[in-house]
Subunit: 251 residues, 4 copies
């Protein structure tokens, strides 16, 4: 059993993961970190530093401001760590990167297996399709989402861009108020109701279209990815890992 | 049999209509107007003024610059006329409107039955849904289309706007680079390959979405609408008619 | 404030409704009925008969076997009742119908506003479209669903059938192993993962398609409908009411 | 320039190919074979045997009964041949296979690049996804199509089946009238109007769905594939080739 400590164990995602971990045969939560310890089935500390347990991996689903303490602790104890928190600044992201020079660090823009499989497919087909197909991305999220396009839409667009040999000018969110340029990838952000998260890549060619679509049905999907990430990073050497590695191993 | 003269009979749409009219039991093309008369099964004149035949209705699928001659001729002979030409200027549109004070005139932003049925549904549900649902429109067309959003997308958006009792600020082509405002309708124009024409209206609410989508499969659909328009306007009194009237009669 | 008693208050749906009712300005839960009373913010009884409170409406989200007690109680006290329980037998359904001869009874095959708005649209367009369009229905649900096609798919198909003037032979789940007959409506049931519930009606015609789609994102949507039903039936005379009435009043 | 002879040059597809070939810088049609030679810009023979021209490749878009003559001719002259005709019997298919022991033969169930790219993706992801996702296929075609499911849907389903390590029971056209079995792939055939051809593969998992969709917009798409096939097989050694090879080379 992989012994895991869950930072942010009583948050929205923390609860989903705690529920799932119960069913897991590979991972058990030995302790959680959260201000609020109500209704937990495992010991809970206020701060990561209070955790003296024997642990194999740290899973973080909390807030960006928890980063410094997590870096210190994981580096000092040399424990692989999985960052699932979002909204990091550039500065914080580079801190995560440098941490990976000392220990095993896992970080991904999107924790779902499905998105990362799609990202993988895009890498293998974009350069070929690009010659004969126009590429556009549509993403849909709830009306409270503050950022747009979504980080995942940008992840996918960048994968396509990096896979295409000739240069592509990005146009994030072509609003269609001009004629389409050959070398642009439109990204369109739809916002409404409480849509959890859809992402669709359209390849429109001469006489045919290919569409690849991902639909998030529930938060479960990110918990499943997070647990897979913990299993993947367990026992790994120092370095920066992502869901992309997880998907590629399984393929 | 309704005797029809087809202006622009050898153009892309003219040919489709000629083909269809052969099968029609209600309408027969007695003459066509076109510079090029090759491969026609009916008499063809260079200019509408040369047409001396007994006709019941004029169908125009040509160019905006043909408008003046058509107005003069139809008014002088008091023959109902159906305008399917697109790309008219505001000035030309108002000319069409004033013509309708003297004779029966038919004009629509989109000639397909399907779009007009959807337009009709929007009129009946928008005000109710608007209270609890966010509304966004996605339209898809080929990469050579110069205007965006499509005239049809604007038609649908205006129908929604006019059906909603409180004021709506339009945001044609929300490019998603800002948080969604409650009272805006996003219109997103996708351009790629040779997509004929898709239009989708999304009502995204709390825990559910309603999507209404129209897909044009071939140019046939506009020919069918044009012939229905000819049947509709045949024998009508002076006035301005549209596909909306056709749909409402059938409902 | 409408005073409501919630039968099955600690079930999956009961919890969602309790949560929503807190935010409601029109409805308050004065008592709940459930074997398990843990974590409730209002009094809870084991059996409806123990409830002596002043109540205006009963909302039932429990099991079919609770029907008899609910009928007796609501009839004796002449309290309007909303049945949201599913899986009733024909016999039980007719019992609900006869109850409506004495008091106000609310019952619908699907409690979401969206599905009932779509059902309403189908009623108004089906007979017109039927002449020129083929009609097929696709429904998608999680892989644990035992019945197929879904009750909602049958509700929609029956609405279409009843709206069409000439006779339609139903073919629930055309599996496509034969050529399409003109007068059949195919119903296709997709089952996979934990899809909550999608329903799509396709009108496929000459050169164009119209698609009307409903997607359930979360159970919330049924709770919203149930509370709207309670508001609707409050103070109504005896009779049988459904979401269809709610939608029509708002339209 | 590759010198091509087109068998069935005046059929529906023959005309599309003739039109496209005019624009091609790599392929020119030196002769066509057809009963009807009207409106052609190149010499036309009644029978392949009359063709004495210097040719590099034969493209066949005709009828199954033309097979024997084509096999004889291509084998005798050792000219690579591309079979795009559909509706072959098992016996005829094996004849095509044995021909490939003597000369270069090209044959595919579907000639579009898009479908073959999707087929390729399925090969690489199916075995991984199969463990956690349910797989269903939806195909849509016009209401005159006699066979169902479409040959392309079966092609895709077989690719998935062959990519999955453990055994899968096929259920072509699960009509949803039973609970979903874990090891079945449902294929659903929608028929309506004049839909040209859509194919969609759904991977439905825990909390997420992946959908891969192909839409045929016009017959052009098959002509493009046929011309690419001619370029591919030109100068190849004896053997059996398919669109799969074309796609893999480009990838």
């Amino acid at each position: 059993m992989i012994r895991m400590v869950l930072n942010g164990c009583n948050g929205k995602m923390g609860k989903v993961i705690s529920e799932m971990a119960k069913a897991s045969t590979n991972i058990s939560i030995v302790a959680g970190i959260d201000k609020n310890s109500s209704g937990l089935t495992y010991p809970c500390y206020n701060h990561i530093n209070e955790c003296e347990d024997e642990i194999d991996v740290i899973l973080d689903f909390s807030r960006p401001d928890a980063l410094d303490a997590l870096c210190q602790y994981s580096k000092a104890k040399n424990i692989p760590i999985v960052f699932c928190t979002t909204g990091y600044t550039e500065k914080q992201l580079s801190k995560i990167h440098s941490l990976s020079e000392d220990i095993a660090v896992f970080h991904s823009a999107n924790m779902s297996i499905g998105i990362n499989i799609i990202n993988n497919m895009l890498r293998s087909i974009s350069n070929m399709l690009y010659k004969d197909f126009d590429i556009e991305i549509i993403e849909k999220h709830h009306n409270q989402k503050v950022d747009a396009p979504s980080g995942t839409a940008l992840l996918l667009a960048n994968t396509i861009k990096d896979s295409i040999e000739d240069e592509t000018i990005f146009n994030n969110g072509r609003n269609g108020l001009h004629k389409r340029e050959r070398n642009e990838i439109g990204i369109h952000a739809i916002r409404g109701g409480n849509i959890i998260g859809d992402h669709e890549i359209i390849f429109a060619g001469k006489g045919e279209c290919i569409e690849i679509k991902h639909t998030a049905i529930s938060r479960e999907v990110f918990a499943i990815g997070a647990l897979k990430a913990c299993e993947y990073i367990y026992g790994k050497e120092k370095g920066l890992y992502s869901m992309d590695d997880v998907v590629n191993t399984s393929l």
